[in-house]
Amino acid sequence: MQSSEERFSNPILGLLRAAANALLVPLLAVLTAMIIGGIVIALAKGDPFYAYVGLFQGAFGSPKALSETAVWATPYIFAGLAVALAFKGGLFNIGAEGQLAFGAVMAAWIGYALPGVLGIDLPAIIHIPLAVGLGALTGALWAAIPGFLKAYTGGHEVINTIMMNYIALNLTSFLLNAPMKDPNPDNVIARTPLIAESARMPIIFEGFRLHWGFLLALGVAFLIWLLLWKTTMGYEIRTVGANPDAAKYAGINVKRTIVLTMALSGLLAGLAGAIEVTGLNYRHELGFSIGYGFDAIAIALLGKTHPAGVVLAAILFAAMRNGATRMQFLTQIPVDVISVIQALILLFVAADAIIRYIYRIRAREERVVLTRGWGG
């Protein structure tokens, strides 16, 4: 335990120490999960050391690998921020997947239908923000529904957001199989046509797939930090999250804040989908977003619901997903082992008491309330 005098005498050292303390448990959680993952790989008759070398090479070993890791990280940052923001407001958004899918569908529609179907040609400087913005807005509206139900009827957002994931899956399946299906006679896949050139986000370096969406994601993470800690709205969100009763007595409109928090969370998830369409795939295809919702929860928790932590956690998860292909190539261990490792990371981050027990670390911070039972 450091004295307050020491903290004031050297602010940089103090900051570093705080960062080290905040990172200690997540890092040990990742380490422990990787060790158990190594045992699983060994049981599957693979060489864990070789597998992890492959994983690292695949994720960071070349400029192309780095670019691909950042490409993977982009939707993870947005979706992770979405879940983290909701946690800050005391809400558990398991619906990022559905919000993301609708964001992607809308962005794709603006991207291909405006010029192609409606005959409206737009310059890129308008077309890209329009596609991305309306995609994000669609995600926000979709997420506002469970927010509204939570605030005004008490319907729990955990079940409602999950139900809305299935509804979104059904509706997007319908859209991509019928009215929005790529009409190209060779096409048998449930996907939209390619979006117009004017709706495509430019890439950063010639020859790599990395696009401006990654930098946008970093910028948005900073904006969310500003929102949460430097604005009245952010203060209200955090207060409602920490204690809705106290927030009510402090004069905060709790119901409105709940709807707003969910809408903002959905906005971020919608952005994840819209950016994937405009920056990377140039179309929306059924099934591409499966699993993003649950990954986003793990990322938000691993990042301790702090925007900076979310960015780091997203990059870690992206590195694992991206490096897994090379790992499989070298050791024949299926990429699915990454899902096991990520689930273990989540387990140890959620149950940090296990990590503290294994490594004999004393708890110093107070517990953060993340969710409440059905009653609250």
Binding site: V40, A44, F92, I94, L149, T153, G154, G155, H156, V158, I159, N160, I162, M163, M164, N165, Y166, I167, N170, L171, S173, F174, N177, A178, G291, F294, I297, A298, L301, Q332, I333, P334, D336, V337, S339, V340, I341, Q342, A343, L344, L346, L347, A350, A351, A353, I354, V369, L370, T371, R372, G373, W374, G375
Partner: protein
């Protein structure tokens, strides 16, 4: 007994049935349609009923369990795996293999529940996060093993999925099943019968035994229960594990009773709908079963709509789109959670870790 709630449930089921009867009556007699709808409803409600009972044991003891989905998925996989192992490696006959599979599924559910109990009771992890961990872990483990064991070269089953030992055979109730036409309702598979039996058993256990009284005490007011000498931690562990075994049996339905195969993510949200059924049933076994039947009916509607696709009149063309009909259970769930049928009251200490 909450008659308004049961009345509402009966009304929804009646509406869902009438839709099918109205569309199909030109081709098939209404009695046959209703019979077949009822038989399907009871069968497809099985995992929902068992999932709801699973939630009931956990939440009556004060532990929220949103990991039922994951427990079912894991149980579906390991039960199926055990049955195949017995059948192809140890050369058991299909029937004993299937029984071993069901036992393995129940144990898998119990094991995952043990983890959930450890997280929520011992480590006092936020219970909804704990349940989410179970769900993600189940998806990861089943996805990995499914690929590793069946689809990789050099794996035990040589890169192809072996022939599964089939599904559990139907058991009919002697006299009732012999009634012409409607006898079909009394001709169901064993896990379905077990689920119905467990609804009654759970009702008796929860409300007419010392165990049930203690369980409810721990879920309503753990401090008071502790004061009179009830071991809160033990009761919570035990009930969560019993609940996990129920979910495990529900998981067995997917791969050992419904179809003889496993697919990643095959539980498809049933664990979550089961939770909604439990809430809709206001944390009572019969209420939960009735709610599970509503969702079963919605699914039966979807199945029958595909059958009568051609007969759907043009005014109702929207029912031809299976994606739209498929939304029914999910929208119903959301509607029910709004509390339009009356307030849903959870056990008082639901979701709160107990600090001694």
């Amino acid at each position: 007994m909450d008659w308004r709630r049961f009345g509402f449930i009966a009304l929804i089921i009646a509406i869902l049935f009438s839709v099918v009867v109205l569309i199909g009556k030109a081709q098939i007699s209404p009695l046959i349609i209703i019979t077949s709808m009822m038989a399907t409803t009871i069968a497809v409600a099985t995992p929902l009923t068992l999932g709801a009972l699973s939630g009931l044991y956990c939440e009556r003891a004060g532990v929220v369990n949103i990991g039922i989905e994951g427990m079912m998925l894991a149980a579906a996989f390991f039960g199926w795996l055990a049955a195949i192992y017995m059948n192809t490696i140890f050369l058991f006959a299909p029937m004993p293999s299937l029984i071993v599979g069901v036992i393995a599924a129940i144990l898998t559910g119990g094991l995952f529940a043990l983890l959930h109990a450890a997280l929520s009771v011992t480590f006092k992890v936020d219970q909804i996060i704990g349940g989410t961990v179970i769900n993600i872990l189940a998806v990861g483990i089943t996805g990995f093993l499914n690929r590793q064991l069946f689809f990789e070269k050099g794996s035990i089953f040589g890169g192809n999925v072996p022939h599964a030992p089939g599904v559990l055979p139907r058991i009919d109730i002697p006299i009732l099943a012999d009634i012409p036409v409607i006898g079909r309702i009394f001709d169901q598979q064993p896990i379905t019968w077990a689920a119905i039996l467990l609804v009654f058993v759970t009702h008796i256990v929860l409300f007419y035994t010392r165990w049930g009284l203690r369980t409810r005490a721990v879920g309503e007011h753990p401090r008071a229960a502790d004061t009179v000498g009830i071991n809160v931690f033990y009761m919570r562990y035990a009930n969560v594990i019993i609940g996990g075994m129920m979910a495990g049996l529900g998981g067995a339905y997917f791969t050992l009773e419904s179809v003889p195969s496993f697919e990643p993510l095959m539980t498809n949200g049933r664990g979550f709908i089961a939770l909604a059924a439990m809430i809709f049933g206001n944390w009572t076994p019969f209420g939960a079963w009735a709610a599970a039947l509503v969702f079963g009916a919605a699914q039966a509607l979807q199945i029958n709509m595909q059958f009568f696709r051609e007969a759907i009149p043009p005014q109702l063309a929207i029912l031809q789109i299976s994606y739209v009909v498929g939304l029914t259970p999910y929208i119903l769930t959301m509607l029910i959670l709004t509390g339009i049928i009356g307030k849903n009251i959870p056990p008082a200490a639901d979701g709160q870790p107990y600090e001694k």
